[in-house]
Every structure is written in structure tokens, then in C-alpha cells.
Amino acid sequence: MATSSELAQLPILTEKPHHVPSVALVGNPNAGKTSLFNRLTGLRAHTANFPGTTVEHRRGRIHAGEQSIELIDLPGLYSLDALTPDEQVARAAIVGEITRHPAPDLLVLVLDATNLERNLYLASQVLELKRPTLVALNQIDAAEQQGLTVDLAALSAKLCAPVVAVSARTGQGIEQLTEKIGAVLATPTAPTFDAAGCACDACHGCSYAARYDWAKQVRLSSVQGADEPHSPLTDALDRVLAHRWWGLGVFGVVMLLTFMLIFWAAQLPMDLIDGAFASLGETVGGWLPAGDLRSLVADGVIGGVGGMLVFLPQICLLFLLIALLEDSGYLARAAFVMDRLMRKVGLPGKAFVPMLSAHACAIPAIMSTRMIEDRRDRLATILIVPLMSCSARVPVYALVVALLFPHDPVRAALLFAGAYVLGIVAALGLGWLLKRTLLPGESTPLLIELPNYRVPSLRNALITTVDRAWVFIKNAGTTILVISLILWALATYPHTDLADLPAERQAAINAAGDNADALLAQAQLERSFAGRIGQVIAPVFAPLGFDWKMSVGVVTSFAAREVIVSTLAVLYGVGEEGAENGSLYDSLRTATHSDGSLVFTSATCLSLLVFYVLAMQCLPTQAVTRRETGGWRWPTFQLVSMSVMAYVAALTVYQLATLFGKT
């Protein structure tokens, strides 16, 4: 349906040469609304927030003949009672109460043909608004498979609105739907759904029961086939997947496989991105004269952005797999079986998706908390997910484990796993505490639709993935860029030249031969702002067993925790390459305090590990928390609570380990 005039129409959003009619899709969460939206718009859509809210919707252009139409996909709804933020915003959007968003010219009510009666409940509320409405009867192919036949004319008469049967999955009826949208927009019909015309005498502001009675009557008069259609396959699968014990077992296996797939499949693209940015930095650096500008572009900008984009493959895979699991119907079962366990710490079953996602990265995890309806539950989940061991912690864990158990793979693996367990336990503990103090009140009891299982659509999942990944890049990317530049400046200025150093150090560097660059870099970082800040705050971290170099690392890794490894590499004089070829480990193992005692004792290593499991140390996560909670209050709380927790825990571990002579 693309036309050659498409490009010329793109800037219309800002101009107003003529009115572009808008059409909004309204329907139940599992009615296939999003599939229909993707079918109609293809890839020409983008995600946006309604002003002043965190409620997302997607919009895109479609064309009916010559006419260009703005299509809006509203959040899925069960009712217009305005109980949840999604419902409030969707209702406001339909009636045009949102600033700069006039009421849509036409509503397309998406109904699931296989579950018509329940869908008609929302339909009765939407039709009552008396907005021009067109009904898209979706999943008509599945209904036919279940032996249902729908009398479209009868249904249309009952609903007082035109009805088009479609299947977003097969594409059946999509062209007719587009044509009908164009036709209705050309001659907007006044909505006629009312008591007199449409036999819903009790429907105006009536009780729920009367709406369902009406829905049943409409279904009986327009659908022929099984009285209560159901899928035997779904029931059979649920006997295992939703089972009290089997369900948990299957859930564990599914999650394990998901994670193995994420870490395995993301490895190659991550290496490629890493390599690409490294060579890009070198190439671009080669074009620029040596000096601050080259360092700014190569290390600050390219290094900083590359450091974030390297996690993108994992994040995309995570989004993709979650979208597929959700589309298949399994995610609802997982929330169902996990609910009993999660309740014990006061969180809803739905919180498991963010908690698992956070093991790759806290940012997509925080974005995925949107599926939790209750505001307090959602906030509690947002606050605890950064405690999960994300990918960026892995380099730090790897460093500590290699220092402690270089020749003992079993103990190394146990310590590694222990770090993950510590993160999970701390998160659940914090959740439990939050629900009893700052966010009191019982969480909303579980109530979830368990839709029929179906083969998920890869196309829809890919579109969702691209959308979400783009939001991640825009959010995290801009923050990361700013932070990278600030940190670069802190680590670069004031600039130290070889001539500025005391004579004996100059001599040492001159005598070092191959190692001269690394020693100069060490001296430069030591004398930079970051280095000075680290030395000033070193007494604060001394009770944790950290020397001043590690304190500098805490400063430089404030915005992105994995930076500690390269900072230690520079400060211990092995250069950044040393972090990769293992010379860092040798250098750290032999490092001594001024009194000659070893720096990296077992106690210090454990303390460093515990600190990095629990500390916030990730500004992009905080930026996303701010976006999702609408202010700096909760990101500040997150930073303070996690930092205090990390400090106290690391202090305890160090002091206990020292006390019991584990040196």
C-alpha cells in the first residue's frame, strides 16, 4: 500500500497544510490488536509516550487510496473503567482529553472472533462513547477452525457499526479493512449505538451483569457453533505448564534455555561490535593530530558509545525472546506459576520477567516493568532490579575470581555463582523491606487472562524488538554519551606531560622501554581530577580494604561499573591492553601497600566483589528509572540505598575476613 508520495508526506507532522485524519485501534490485550497494527503499517511506525505519562502507544501511517491516515495503537484494555494508568490514558485519548492529541476521527474496535462474548464487554463501553466506530473482527481464521461461523450482517446490526472480518495472522480481509476505513472517514457516520436502536436497553451506565447479558445475546444471535469454544490443546498444555509443581520445573528450564541462548548467541555479535569500535577508534584517531581532540574522539566518544552498544545484542535477544514467549501465551502461565513464590516477598508473579531480564541489563528490565499494573509493585520492582548481576558486572567478577582462585576452577565457579545469588537475595530482601516500609499495602492480588497457546509471530516479535531497542539506544545512548565525555574530561585534565613529573619518575619512565607509555598513562591518571578525587576519598574506602587506586576506580566506574577493570589496569601501570592479556592479574597479585603488605588479599578481593554486586554504579539505569518514575526522587533513593548497602556489606565482609585471619 506504499505510494510514491510517501517521502513527501513525512514532514506533515509539524506542518499543517491539510488535516491528516487519525484512526485509533481499541481492543482487549489478547485480541491481536498489535498484530493488526503491524499488518496495516508494516515497519512504518514508531513508539511514543502520551505527554506527561509513561503510557506508550505506537503510531504509523497507512494509506487508503490517495488518503494518508495516522494510525494509533492504544494500550490493550479489558474495560474503560479507568482503573489502571493504561485505561485512564486510553480513555482520555479516545475522547480527546490529552493535550495536543485531538480525539481520533475514527475508532477501530478490534474484537477476537474466538472470544467474542468477553470482548463485547469492552465493545459496549466503547460504542457508548458515540464516536465514529468500525469493528474489525480479528482471528476469523482461528474461529473458523474452531467450527464457528459468524453472521457479519447480524453482528453489524446489533453493534450499529460496520463489521469487517480479518485475520492479522494470514492477512485475510486486511485490504477490505483499509478500504472501509477510508470509506468511513470520507463520510463520517454518526454513531447510532443507543438504547432505542440497538437493543441494549440496560447498557447506559448499567451494571456489569446487564452488559454481559447483552454480550451473550449478541453472540447467540450472530455466532453459530460451539457454545463455549475452547482449545483442547491449551487445556492439555496447561495441565503441565500451569501445574503447581511441574509448572515451576518447566519455568526453570525455559528460563535457563533463554539465558543460555542469550549469552551464547550474543557472543559473536558482541565481539564484532567490540572489534568494530576498537578499529573505528584507531582509524579516526589516525586522522586526527595527537592531542586532546584525538583522545576526546577516540577514547571519549567512540569508546564510550561502543562500551554501551556492545551490550545491544544481548538486549535485543532478550527483547526478542520475551516477545516470542509473550505472543505464544506462555508468559502468562509463567506469571501464574511464579505468583505463589513471589508473593512471599510481597511482589507479584509478573515481577519475574524484569528480574530475569536484569541479569542481562537493568535498563530493559526496568522498561519491562510496565506489565505490572499496581503502581507500588511496579516501583518496588524498579528499585530492586539493578541488584541483579548484569552483564557489565561479569568483567569485575571475572577479575576478582581470577585473583582469588587462579588454579581452582571449582571454587572459582562457586564464587561466581555466589555473586549471582547474593544479588538475587539482596534484591528479594530489599523488595520485602520496601513493601513493609516505604511502599506498604498488600500487592494487588493475581488476576490474569490465560490466552490460548499459539505459534508466535516472528515478524511481530522482530518489530517489537526493533522498537524497544531503539528506545534503549535513545535513552541510554544520550546519557552514556554525556557521561562518557564528563568522565573522559575528569580522567584527562589537568593534563600531565612527562616534563611535569618529578625527576626520579621521569627517569623511571625513560628507563622502562616498552612499558614507558603505560607508566606515563599511570602518572597522568593519578594526577587527573579523577585520580585526585580518588585519593581524597581513599580514607572512606580504607575500612573496606581498598587502596587509593581502587578508590579512583570507584570514582571512574560511577557511571558504568565495568570501567573499574580498565582503570585498575591503567593505575597499576599495565596499560589498557593489560586488562585483556592477563598481565593485569600478575600486576595486581604482586601489588603492595606502602608498608609492603599485599593489597589484594582474600579479604580485599571478597570486599571488592561484594561492593560491586550491590553498588548502583550505573547512571544510564538511573536515567531510565527517572523516566519511568517521573522524577529524580526514586533514582536518588536507588543510588543512596544501594551505595549504603554495598558499603556496609563490603565493610562487614572485609572486617570479618580480616578478623578470622583469612589473609
Binding site: 479489558y78 451483569a209 469454544p229 492480588p445 493475581l446 488476576l447 487472562e449 490465560l450
Partner: protein, 92 residues
């Protein structure tokens, strides 16, 4: 309208007490207004037939053609009757 004891209600079951494979008709939904609205929007509403698919906590019912999972506590607030609902007409 203060009732001390309603013999019909005393005989009524809650949804959480239904055994797997049995069906009943909802006669009343009690509890917090928000919870009631959420239940009703999914079809757990006066006069609807509910079928217990899997008892326990949480439990699964089929109502108005779709499967719904809900916590035992929420199901406790739904009064059902396994045959006809004598109170239904009286309440409307």
C-alpha cells in the same frame, strides 16, 4: 439493609471452594471496589457461569469463553451457587 444472618448466603460457596471440573454461577462479588472491577471486566460477574479448571492457589477458571488465573484470596470474595441462584433476582 443490615442483615445479621442470611440463610441463603450461609449455604453459598465461594469460588475458591469449587472443586476442579465443577461449574457454578456467580451470585455476588465482594471486596475492594478495584478488585471487583478487575474481576468483572474479565467476566467474573453476577450471573456468569464459571467452571473450575484447576483448584489451588492460584487457581484457574473458565468464564465467558476464556481462561482466567486468579489468587485464592480473590476467589474468596466471589460467592457462587452450584445450582440455580435464588438470591439473584432478589438482589437486582
Amino acid at each position: 439493609m443490615v442483615k445479621i444472618a442470611d440463610p441463603l448466603e450461609a449455604r453459598g460457596l465461594t469460588l475458591s471452594q469449587l472443586r476442579s471440573g465443577t461449574a457454578a454461577v456467580v451470585s455476588e462479588v465482594r471486596g475492594a471496589a478495584g478488585d471487583i472491577s478487575r474481576l468483572q471486566a474479565l467476566g467474573v460477574c453476577q450471573g456468569r457461569r464459571v467452571e473450575m479448571m484447576q483448584a489451588g492457589d492460584p487457581l484457574i477458571v473458565r468464564v465467558v469463553g476464556s481462561k482466567v488465573g486468579l489468587s485464592h484470596r480473590l476467589a474468596d470474595s466471589v460467592i457462587v451457587c452450584t445450582e440455580t441462584c435464588p438470591t439473584q433476582t432478589a438482589r437486582v
